[in-house]
Symmetry: C2
Subunit: 251 residues, 2 copies
Amino acid sequence: MKNNAASTVRQYPCERCPLQAFPHFQPHDKDEVEFLSGFKMGELVADIGTTVLGEGTSSAHLFTVLSGWAFRYKTLEDGRRQILNYVLPGDLIGLQGSVMKEMQHSVEALSPMVLCMFQRDKLPNLFRSFPSIAYDITWLASREEQMLDEILLSVGRRSALERAAYLFAFLFQRAKSVGMVKNDKLMVPLRQQHVADTLGLSIVHTNKTLKKLAAKGALRWLDRGCEVLDHQMLLDISRWQGLPSVPRPYI
Amino acid sequence: MKNNAASTVRQYPCERCPLQAFPHFQPHDKDEVEFLSGFKMGELVADIGTTVLGEGTSSAHLFTVLSGWAFRYKTLEDGRRQILNYVLPGDLIGLQGSVMKEMQHSVEALSPMVLCMFQRDKLPNLFRSFPSIAYDITWLASREEQMLDEILLSVGRRSALERAAYLFAFLFQRAKSVGMVKNDKLMVPLRQQHVADTLGLSIVHTNKTLKKLAAKGALRWLDRGCEVLDHQMLLDISRWQGLPSVPRPYI
DNA sequence: CGTTTCATTGATTAGTCTCAACGAAGGTGG
DNA sequence: CCACCTTCGTTGAGACTAATCAATGAAACG
């Protein structure tokens, strides 16, 4: 809930975008990099707990995550919160705010983050000048929808244990594709409250469910956050076949 | 589950697109209509129960609904089904299949439908030739994401009664914007099984929940389908403030 | 007119929530 | 450096929500 000061610098020129390093990220050609370089306004460095984008605001820029974790969420009037999805490097946020009137959800940092910041007014110009990048944006929007479809299936129809297993298998796969998995293990910077608000469960029942997964050796809960230990077991428990592994764009 | 024969005719030229009639649908200019006319391959007429798009297929065209109701869904291996969203006139379906490898969900007709069918290979060309239409497609993708966000919030965090009320308030608003609401009442062509699979509840509990809404006078269950009677009551019960009412594009 | 689909209802069980209390770790201010 | 406070994770008990099982009637379908 904090809204920490966030500095705006420019550490990574687009020619040396850190996202290039990841295997299935499709490279841009020279013209595109040049255009994006002008489209980019700067970088936003955000601390843990910073609200990067707030529901109801229309100001909003468009961001690509360069490093760090965040989550998207909505709340009901009485405070009940639902986490909609997680945001990892290469993900685009704020498109809703750019394309529609205003944001209908918020985004909060789970770890220190660096974000690449774009000017939303220039989006129509981008569509005119660089159809290939416009297509990439649509691709990313489509992927977000696909992830939401899976998450909704999970929350609606899987049992608590399956749901939890699905969540960590999902995060593992996404994190792996951006080089965050070391030694086939992953550290996820979440509180149990985040897990509960993702799965649509109470915090107490979430705790009991996580204990079961830990007892099976699928993961381990640490002081603040959790370590995914056995990705395959999580896939088995959730009966999920995993994300399609295809080359993906980024902007 | 039926896959009825579906005929392909061309009853509505783009210049006389039936979607023009709806108040907040943004009109296209002449150039756009001309282009869309070439982009359009024909019309698909689908019966109740027809699978318009199937999970795992990549063939898939891109469709805009001209009339009728459908729903998008995913299933788990053991048959548990989650309905992800409903599809009404003006909605675009099959974008995932066009942009990514293949469809990750299915779409089934709830009523007789007429769909406008586009050739997916021409999508990159559309992005090159008509950035304004490309932008509209992105707008529609963003709107779908926004709807999914709300539905996920509902399934994850609302009680059974609130969830059911939200569903019918949501359908009422969407249907109203495409002229389906007469006399402030709406007929929704659903079985209780559809409602259950949308809300993530069992059919028995869904039945009991719907009875409560009916007892309050918010809706009425008929032989096959339901009539929404009191939209305001549904809004109150679900504590939902409704969809933003803004002009929207269509293709 | 038999068969299937759909809605309905009651009884029982299972899963999840709420309430409550406590301990451990980390942060803060004196 | 210590004392206090807050946050976070953990656990048990009891209450409640929703699932499952089972049976029935009504309407649609062939």
